[in-house]
């Protein structure tokens, strides 16, 4: 099954003469963790927002888990994102006023589906954190006392809770040093694999690419 499918996708910002994205075809299968590499200005950001359903293509189609985004209203795409996607940002992933557990459980409050899949939300959040090497003692700390690496792992737990099919990671390792980065990637892969989520990892960092079964060079697929 294809998790993500692009067909003749074009996107052009208002007032621009040229398309920023023009992708004739792109498919990512379930479990096929993909590394999407592109320099800044290559349309990565736009692509992410299209995938998340926040932007809609100027023309062409995006199909996610056999749902045609084109046929959905923006509120339906918001719902789809809540149900089926986990997002990890570059940094500042957490709400400083929520506890670690509450940060992790956040998606369950906006998606019934993920709430049901998570079961006992707190226990699931705690178990996920533990798998990500953040034990009970850590879980009691205020978010603001965590290191960047720890914050990113909490963000992974939040993205994974309720077993969403797609994990979108936007340069989540750029603020981490090499060792932390490797640990982070291993933990991310292990957890995603164990619950059957497909990772779409966006970065400009070629050194991470080797760990992914599939690498997509944005410059190559994008025919602008």
């Amino acid at each position: 099954m294809n998790v993500i499918e692009f067909a003749n996708l074009r996107y052009r910002w208002k007032g621009q003469q040229q398309d920023i994205l023009n992708i004739a075809e792109l498919q990512i299968r379930k479990g096929e963790h993909a590394f999407l590499r592109g320099e800044s200005g290559s349309g990565k950001t736009t692509l992410l927002n299209l995938l998340a359903g926040i932007l809609t293509p100027t023309s062409g189609h995006i199909r996610m888990l056999d749902n045609d985004f084109h046929a959905m209203k923006s509120s339906q795409r918001d719902r789809f994102r809540a149900d089926h996607m986990g997002v990890i940002f570059q940094q500042f992933n957490l709400l400083p006023y929520l506890s670690i557990i509450d940060n992790v459980s956040l998606p369950c409050h906006f998606s019934k589906m993920r709430k049901e899949r998570a079961g006992d939300i707190k226990a699931t959040a705690s178990r996920l954190l533990e798998h990500l090497k953040l034990d009970n003692e850590f879980q009691q700390r205020p978010v603001t006392e965590l290191s960047v690496g720890q914050q990113q792992r909490v963000a992974v737990a939040r993205a994974l809770i309720g077993k969403p099919e797609i994990i979108i990671a936007d340069e989540p390792t750029s603020a981490l040093d090499t060792n932390t980065r490797n640990d982070f990637l291993s933990l991310l892969f292990d957890e995603a694999e164990s619950q059957g989520s497909t990772i779409l990892f966006v970065s400009h960092d070629p050194y991470i690419a080797e760990r992914f079964p599939r690498v997509i060079e944005l410059e190559e697929v994008n025919q602008r």
Partner: protein, 419 residues
């Protein structure tokens, strides 16, 4: 529900700013409600001054002026009216009772009112309440005096004390009727009206102290002793005004017309309720001004809140992106800001009410002591809740600006905010 929790936690995270914002709204709310309350109390107290009197009659002037000097003891009568006219009207078939009033003298700044014991029987204030004695009883004999509550309290008089009345209404009059002191026979309970600030004496007493006076000064070489004066004919020839109670209230307008057309003397009869309303309208303009001022204070408080909301917009950009990422639609981002404003306004409003209630409770004894004005305990009325909901509504309205900005941004930023 989760939005409420998020808003609350987010607010709690910014509690210092939040507290100041709430406080500024609380102060403006307590000011608006307080002014409204004082306005009502002042009006009430004003309207309470006289009750159950159908007509006030005096020399011809204006109804407001007549009411001011006869009931509020403010200003002076332009003219007196003759005892004969008074008697004639008092005998009228529709008249149930009359109370004569004779003004013009003072005691240490307080007005002295010459009257008779009918005053204590018929005078009513507030909601037909009778005058009550704190101690003592109405005056008996020529040189008896009954003190209003404030007079007794401020000047420290007790029953049996002797007081000397000064000629004229000023507080620094040097011509005193020293040879004929009055003895305090009673002290009235506080009424919250001009009665509290009045020294009541007998009409005969007023006559007696002026028996050896002409044109405002003692007649040289003619000094009549108090005892001798008391034995003389003390039937007054003139009085300042009188109050009239009728057998049937409906006769008031007809008798008023009759008195106003009374041939032997130029008289004026006025219906107190009507004159009071007229007087309040005249001096009540300040109400409008106060209301406008407090309205602007309220707007200033809300603008303070708006400023706070707008300044937090940037630091909360990341927060909004995270919420968008977990599937919060832009409409709920909008709602989040409105919810925040509503919470701030509700808390501010309730704190404002508390401030006002406690403030009035604490200042009650002081105000009663200083102004003889008893403020009733403040409890929110329907109007106050209505005003509170207007404040909350305005806050929600104001918050649509930051909410709209956040909404626009969350559409543009999507998942990729770079800070």
């Amino acid at each position: 529900m989760i939005l409420l929790k998020l808003t609350w936690q987010s607010l709690w995270n910014r509690r210092t700013t939040l507290l100041l914002t709430i406080l500024s709204i609380a102060i403006s709310v307590s000011l608006v409600l307080g002014v409204e309350y004082i306005r009502k109390e002042a009006r009430q107290s004003f309207m309470n001054t006289i009750s159950d009197t159908d007509l006030v009659v005096g020399a011809r002037s204006g109804p407001v002026q007549l009411l001011l000097y006869s009931v509020f003891r403010i200003g002076n009568a332009t003219n007196n009216i003759s005892w004969d006219s008074y008697q004639e009207i008092a005998q009228h078939k529709w008249v149930k009772w009359t109370v004569p009033l004779s003004l013009g003298d003072s005691h240490k700044g307080y007005r002295v009112l010459g009257t008779n014991t009918d005053y204590f029987t018929y005078y009513r204030y507030a909601d037909k309440r009778e005058l009550a004695f704190l101690e003592g009883k109405p005056f008996a004999g020529v040189y008896g005096a009954v003190l209003g509550a404030e007079v007794a309290r401020k000047l420290g008089y007790q029953l049996g004390d002797k007081i000397v009345i000064a000629h004229g209404a000023g507080s620094t009059s040097f011509s005193e009727h020293k040879n004929k002191p009055f003895t305090v026979s009673g002290i009235l309970k506080p009424t919250g009206t001009a009665v509290d600030r009045t020294v009541h004496v007998t009409l005969e007493g007023i006559e007696a102290i002026h028996i050896d006076w002409r044109a405002g000064t003692p007649i040289p070489g003619l000094e009549v002793s108090a005892e001798k004066a008391a034995s003389m004919n003390l039937q007054p020839k003139v009085i300042t005004a009188f109050l009239v109670g009728l057998k049937t209230r409906t006769a008031a307008f007809r008798l008023q017309r009759e008195i106003n057309e009374y041939k032997p003397e130029a008289l004026l009869a006025t219906i107190p309720g009507i004159a009071l309303s007229e007087l309040w309208r005249a001096i009540g303009q300040f109400e409008v001004v106060l209301r406008i001022i407090t309205f602007f204070v309220l707007i200033a408080g809300l603008l303070g809140m708006l400023t706070t909301l707008l300044t937090t917009l940037n630091e909360r950009r990341r927060e909004m992106a995270i919420l968008r990422a977990v599937g919060v639609p832009p409409s709920q981002v909008f709602f989040l800001f409105v919810l925040e404003a509503v919470i701030i306004a509700v808390l501010g409003g309730i704190l404002g009410m508390l401030l006002l209630g406690v403030g009035i409770l604490l200042s009650q004894p002081w105000i009663a002591e200083t102004y003889g004005f008893y403020l009733r305990t403040w409890l929110p009325q329907t109007n106050d809740w209505l005003l509170l909901s207007v404040v909350v509504g305005l806050a929600a309205l104001f918050s649509t600006l930051p909410a709209w900005i956040a909404y626009r941004r969350s559409l543009q930023d999507g998942l990729t905010v770079k800070i």
